[in-house]
Symmetry: C2
Subunit: 589 residues, 2 copies
């Protein structure tokens, strides 16, 4: 049964709505990537994901990875090695990198939206190219010319893969506690320490694995300002084995085919990336694109779960329509799509998933503008939107993604809970997205504690300006009122919440911690209302029977009437401040 | 590491608050069960769960059950057989049944609250006695004296176990579609058909398994009014094998140690229970207590997950307190309990879990009153509360339970996602509770379509009367205002929503379907506010430094300020009516 079809049409729609041709393809860097070219690359990529990666998803989950303590090797499930080789041969790992080291030089937005399809087809597999991409980003930003020469083309081609070695047993969120030591020895360093939760830290897909390791120089200041970043390859240039070994793999609720490794550095040779004690910069370069991708995980698995549940619903007959006129007397029961609650669940998932996809497209396109525009004002505005909305995509995308997969399971009843359908697998796989690459609350603190403060509130003004411009542009169109009026009301409420929170938090930092998660959700709901209003505006002038117009308008209406009301609830939770949260006796918990 | 301690003190507290001694132990039937006797039985029971069932929980999940197609047998994971035997030897399966067939004759409330502990220790195991209990209920209500004689003592002792065979491949929610046929042959019937998702349909814990099977007599009317119930034992009285065979077990996201079976009836001998075509009555008797128990699954696993996450939090140090005065300069980082968002998550779980436990206690006690009171008015009121609030316990208990286990996982970060901690297991196990024993939306339809209508709205008036009485009794106590005022405001809003929904739905049944799930959640949130106000009132006169007083008041405050605001959001969703949900083109989904 064909349970997943890549949402190519909706990706294209969003590229169009959020300005692919005007804002990105028009940049000199992307002269070769008009929309049609971009779309044919996306189709080719999607075809590979569906035909090669998707069939390995269930077997990979069932088999999992195999760690052998005898030689500290990790064997991937059957078929992954060949699938990875084919992925690289097709150049799919090289899409967004510039041509100097063998990249295709396509827009980041394209590879980002494409990654949804790979994740939906095989999330565990997708994490290998995902981590490699982070390392490439870090090297492009901070690598020496010699490092770029040695590593970039191998990483971009996929011959080698990359990792991000941050966490240690005593430090996850708080990287200031890193205790891995890097001792200078001649032209290099020797690293000693233990890293945990290293995704694809060991595997048999590539001939070499390049770790980016956070560690501390002997003279390092304490805390976060004493962290440096090092390149630590599994095999050195002379072919000898560097003493960086996998000490085991974790047993997890999901992503069984993604090896999560303990990595022991036993005097492993490493080379500094960037300046001493400035390792967090490399980390953040790796992390920023990764955070977008984690948000996409929620979109991808919710879409895949939605499609499975919709197929189930189309076949399933149970009970009678509540409206007698809709009853199908040729069958003993009606198709469950007649039941309002089944529609409600499907619309809940679809409206938030398509809203999030639009948000990802908007921000990914701004990412390209931020990197390639030569107009300083345009560049700055793009950077502001990326900075402001990345934590929202990561956090809301992953949380809503988890709820959405669960809702899709609910549509299917008991069938959804069994392994006969893929949804239980998706639910297990998607849950980690709320945790890694900075937990969702860390995203909320980033939003409230950093992004809202930057440039004296400039980012929020840029965002509010976008909303105001959209509202103004629809002022004379009564057809847009059902979408614009709720957006107006809720963005006004968001501004009030922001002011109120600012007032409370400036006198008391604990308030910020207590309300940040609720505030992020309120912000996210308003952002999706903006995205839905943009999508609605993009179709409103089409003929009334245009299917995409009808589909987008019915989803936009659902979003405004039945999802957006959640924003006021979060506003209420922000208003409650810190009292009931903080002024407690923890010994009574 | 000792990760779970049964919440005995909170169970006792709720038995006291909700009238165990005045309303239940005072009934002649329970003369032998004063509170101290009840509590010592509960402690003995809990000890067995913790010492014997808990250690089998993880291994049972990892091993799962083994189906052998050669002889259609199902082998339980190691240790389950011995644990089950010990459970029966201690008489733990016999607690609430009357002495005539070997029961202990204790209040139902006691066995119900005790079951939380068994579920927390080993949910998969708990399903075997759980299903047996349903069958005992059905037989006590509708069995012939001869059937009671043959079956009841064996089921109550646990020598035999019971099942509930309802679902077939083409019918789950809609039991009117049952097609299993029962043909009369002499003094019995021969049943032919296939049943799916039969919990403990086959296993090696007991010498016999007794199925309660819904089937259709040859002359049965179509639909739900043509369903009869039959007793179909695996082994007949002469020891011969009845042709009712397990055809396989399902692979599921969780409850791996609970066999979910396909059951093939191949001309199996069966005996009618109750009247022909009235099988749904037996089914509902089985189902009602089962629905309470499913709500408890959410409470049990949320409590267990909460305790694990709290233990993790107490040991974990990451980052610095936002309030400099709270920073612990003797360590490189502060304990994560200083972080407001960690407190928020823990309070979210604890306040809703303890609120739900109180609700379960209240309704379970009313269950005993309904069955044993001789005062007709008292009996009727108890019956009304049980009928009204059972769907709320099942639905809100299971949904919030799922969210709560997920929130506990979030407290633990990556650790919670690994199998090194039990929370990922709990999350997989608890998810099914939203689906079985009637999906959560079926509960909502039961609430809105049946319970609100009964006796011209009598049930709702009884419930509103309880709230009004409580509010009045607190009128002169300013200390109670922070709990009573929000309850007052939200119960007023609930009444308005109920009226408004009634107005919309009476003209259009589809509205009911569209809004029922949101309405149930609004109702549940107000109900928990009532429970919290009751709990607060119960401790308010104690000395200010009494730990239980302080704990209950800080949780009640959290609930009122940070959970109850969700009620207004659901009211808003009800207000939206059916338009955006129903008036869509499903072909565009």
């Amino acid at each position: 049964m064909d349970l997943y079809t890549p949402p190519i049409a909706d990706i294209r729609f969003n590229l169009e709505v959020f300005g692919y041709e005007q804002d990105v393809a028009s940049l000199p860097a992307f002269a070769d990537f008009d929309l049609e070219t971009a779309m044919s690359l996306l189709e080719e990529y999607s075809k590979y994901c569906v035909e090669v990666l998707h069939p390995l998803n269930k077997s990979g989950d069932t088999t999992g990875v195999r760690f052998d303590p005898a030689d500290s090797s990790v064997t991937m499930p059957e078929g992954f090695k060949e699938a990875y080789a084919g992925y690289c041969e097709n150049g799919f790992g090289s899409i967004p990198w510039n041509a100097e080291h063998g990249g295709m030089g396509a827009p980041f937005a394209l590879s980002t939206l494409a990654s949804e399809v790979m994740i939906a087809c095989n999330k565990a597999f997708s994490m290998c190219p995902g981590l490699t991409a982070g390392l490439i980003d870090a090297l492009e930003a901070y690598g020496t010319p010699a490092q770029k020469e040695v590593y970039l083309s191998k990483l971009i081609s996929g011959e080698w893969s990359g990792t991000m070695c941050l966490t240690e047993p005593q430090c996850g969120t708080d990287l200031g506690l890193v205790s891995t030591v890097a001792t200078p020895v001649g032209d290099h360093f020797e690293l000693t320490g233990t890293k945990i939760w290293i995704t694809f830290g060991e595997h048999d897909l590539t001939e070499n694995i390049v770790h980016l390791v956070l560690a501390r120089l002997p003279d390092a200041p304490r805390g976060i300002k004493g962290i440096s970043a090092f390149l630590v390859p599994k095999f050195l240039e002379d072919g000898s084995r560097n003493p960086v070994f996998c000490g085991g793999t974790d047993h997890k609720m999901g992503i069984h085919a993604s090896p999560t490794c303990v990595i022991n550095l036993e005097g492993a040779k490493g080379w500094l990336v960037g300046e001493p004690h400035k390792g967090m910069r490399s980390m953040f370069v790796m992390m920023n694109a990764a955070r977008l991708n984690v948000g996409i995980e929620g979109v991808a698995l919710a879409e895949a779960a939605y499609q499975a549940s919709l197929k189930f619903a189309k076949d399933r007959r149970q009970s009678r329509a509540l409206d007698a006129k809709k009853q199908d007397r040729e069958h003993a029961a009606d198709n469950i799509l007649v039941h309002p609650d089944v529609r409600r669940m499907l619309l809940d998932v679809k409206s938030t998933t398509e809203g999030l996809r639009g948000l990802v497209a908007w921000i990914a396109l701004n990412y390209d503008v931020m990197h390639h525009s030569t107009d300083e004002a345009v560049q700055q505005k793009a950077e502001d939107l990326v900075a402001l909305l990345t934590p929202i995509i990561k956090s809301f995308g992953s949380e809503r993604g988890f709820f959405n997969v669960s809702t899709a399971m609910q549509v299917m009843g008991g069938a959804g809970y069994t392994a006969d359908w893929p949804v239980e697998h998706y639910l297990r796989d998607v849950r980690i997205a709320m945790i890694y690459e900075g937990t969702n609350h860390i995203q909320a603190l980033d939003l409230v504690g950093r992004k809202l403060m930057m440039g004296g509130g400039r980012l929020m003004r840029v965002f509010a300006g976008e909303i105001t411009d959209l509202i103004k542009s629809c002022a004379d169109d009564a057809r847009m009122a059902p979408f614009v009026e709720p957006l107006k009301a809720e963005s006004k409420r968001l501004n009030a919440t922001t002011m109120e929170m600012g007032g409370m938090a400036s006198a008391d930092h604990e308030v910020m911690g207590a309300v940040a998660s609720a505030y992020l959700n309120q912000f996210a709901l308003v952002t999706l209302a903006y995205v839905w209003a943009r999508q609605a505006k993009a179709v409103i002038d089409r003929p009334e029977d245009d299917p995409q117009r009808r589909s987008k308008l019915q989803l936009a209406r659902y979003y405004m009437e039945l999802v957006l009301p959640e924003a006021a609830m979060y506003a209420q939770k922000v208003k409650a401040g810190k009292g009931a949260v903080v002024d407690i006796d923890v010994d009574l918990l």
